[in-house]
Amino acid sequence: MAARFFATRPFMSIALDQVTKRYQDQPVVNDVSIEVGEGEFFVLLGPSGSGKSTLLRAIAGLTGIDHGRISMHGRDVTHVRARDRGVGLVFQNYALFRHMTVADNIEFALRVRRMKRVERVARRKELLKLVALEGLDERLPGQLSGGQQQRVAVARALAHKPQVLLLDEPFGALDAKIREELRRTIREVQRELGITTVLVTHDQEEAFALADTIGVMNHGRLLEVGHPHDLYAQPATRFVATFLGAANLLLARQGADGIRFGATPVTAEASEPMYAGREHEVVAVLRPEEVEVAQTREQLSSDYIARGAVEEIAFTGALERLRVRLLDEPCAAQLLGSGSAAEARVEITRTQPERRGLPLRAGTQVALGARRLHVLPTPISSFLACAPTEAEAEELAREPLLESLSTRMKTRVSVRAIDGLKETPAPLAGVAAIAGGDKAAATVEWLLQHGAAEVLVLPKNAPSPTRVYIHWSDEAVRRATLAVSASLLRHVSAEAVYLGIVPEGSPATGRAAPMRKLLDARVEAQQRHGLEMRTELAIGEAVSEITRNLSAGSAQMLVLGITDITQAVTAYRNLLAAQPGWPVLIVFRQPDVGLRATEHAA
């Protein structure tokens, strides 16, 4: 599998390798690698501004890319012009030539290729039949309905028998009924011709209806790729969980004995523990249709999660939608919402038979159960802003970087006063965030010794990073560092650079091993976390090399994996105290535990 970076597999129809496109230094497509198989229907799904259309234009050759490679059927087309790539492109606004008849529009590509008239006409008739528009040859686009125009556009894009069909939000401008009809036509045409197809959309329903494979994009990154069902049932990221269908995100704790909400154990499908041997916070996905509603806890047939009061009931035809406010109970599940935790509501959908079984009205108190829970393999569950006083912690929680991270991660920032670092703390949950400065190193040390696994050191008003350096001092913490980095990088548009450091004076022959480590790290990041990162090898002393790289540009950030608290804190004291300084996310794993996790994973 490591070979994927160096050789394009022949049966891949389209292969993108670390494609990056920047506009004014902001990456809009960020290190995206995709492989689309022959005859596959691939849907790129993402909100507007996620970079999916830019990526499609890059595949078509209409937009140049700043980094990476694009190949089609084994041929490197990175520098091939659009007209020589052999693709057909369909636009949201049809982009038909309004001064030409339907016939001329469809024959455009054939005329360009100087095809004989007889053949042209034959091909045109064939295409019009394919899209069910026979007899409309002599109409002008202005005389056709939107749906018909888009059919013409599809026929036009297929005229020159392209090897790849690209569709950019093709149903965007159509109303629901026509949309569905056209969707079916496109699916049929695609199956009939067996043509490799990439469709861009923001509509998850459309993606489900059409795709063999869905790739979800956000902030220029490709987050997850998979079969529609797998992505829906087992998302790996918060974004995919909430964008692909509705989802309730709940904070739970994962320990040796399984998943618990407060004190209530539940059964949940979980990937391997993030941090073996130590209880930690996790994010669980609960789909609205998987919530069971009953009058009392005893009547539930599934795992109890909380009690709540019905706030809102909406009838939507086949389904009933409920919004339920959780009642404050010590054992209740903690819900993550877009607003503050207090405003979060559980979304529930019930089928008509379910509704008839237990009719509800607003205000009724109910017990909620989870029929199926999925725990996200994301290491960053929530943030805990720590400062000497409550007020300072509140202020820290309002730091722009922390605020944007928590908003984008749809998680919350709790605050905690850690007075003088003396008290014995209640268990720390989530990533601890502290202010940068002289005392930062000492605070980091204290937090790590008292149960924190990740600490984010935030200088004042740090900008959202455009480049994140990743480094670990010990291979034992590699996996955890990569997992945390991937989770962070899904939510900021920055490029990731793994910094491998070889001590100065090491023999030149010894370079091969670090180089291999670099490449291994890159493969692991790609395969385990879908994270594309660059690698750089520096020679010298670790801290000064890292500081040099961080100083080289603006808006940089560091993710640092460590295994030895005291040693690391001593070594990085100056870096953490630097003014104005950089955001540093420290990932700590005890070496033995970390090693065991690595072995377990292998």
């Binding site: 209409l62 492109l89 606004n93 309004r98 590509a109 002008l140 202005g142 020159h160």
Partner: protein
Amino acid sequence: MKVGQREPNVIPGFGITLGFTTFFLSAIVLIPLAALILKAAGMDFSRFVDVITSPRALASYRLSFGASLIAASMNMVFGFALAWTLVRYDFPGRKFVDAIIDMPFALPTAVSGIALTAVFAGNGWIGQYLEPLGIKVAYTWIGITVALTLIGMPFVVRTVQPAIAEVQRDLEDAAETLGAGRFYVFRRIIVPTVLPALLTGFTLAFARAVGEYGSVIFIAGNMPMKTEITPYLIVIRLEEFDYAGAAALGCVMLAISFVMLLAINLLQVWGRKRMMVSR
């Protein structure tokens, strides 16, 4: 075409606006024109024919309409290029260039005439280099064409600009993915889309050029039979108190201009119909 409005319209006052329009059109366009024709009709027919077919008059028509056609055609090419540059590219000073386009509108035409003469005369900035090459600009038909091009330029640029802005990039992109080269895209996609606006610009520039007087007389030299435009000939007739003769020449200009503008307009209507039938 519907003349009356039965259904209540959101904007009231159809009657008033129609009346107002008719009144002003009559007062400032139709009545003076009618007076012009009446004046010309005052002389007997053979004299009328003599006046309008005199060799000097014929030479002036040829020059006036010929130079105007050339100028308007040149404007079509250069105006398109200018408008294209302004719409499609962002470069330092773009706003400035955009503003300067309108200068010929604002400048008194005599000023542009004098400026052009100074530049293109045998000892002028540009004229001194052209003279040794055997190209005389000032006091020849070339100079007249240059003057007419200058004053007609803004018409083309300003009408074509919005049309180019409307050519969706998607159209070009679509054509490119279908295998078309740049020139093919230009010829088959861009030109047809911009053509109606280009024709409008051409018409306006042409109409303006035919009627232009101020800027031309300085650079033309006004030699009878050679560099004398019809409007200048009319002025000469007026100075000779030959009002009927002036009116006769005016009628001829009116007739030719009308026919040409009508032809261009019909061409445009035809083109537009082809473009977007029943939206």
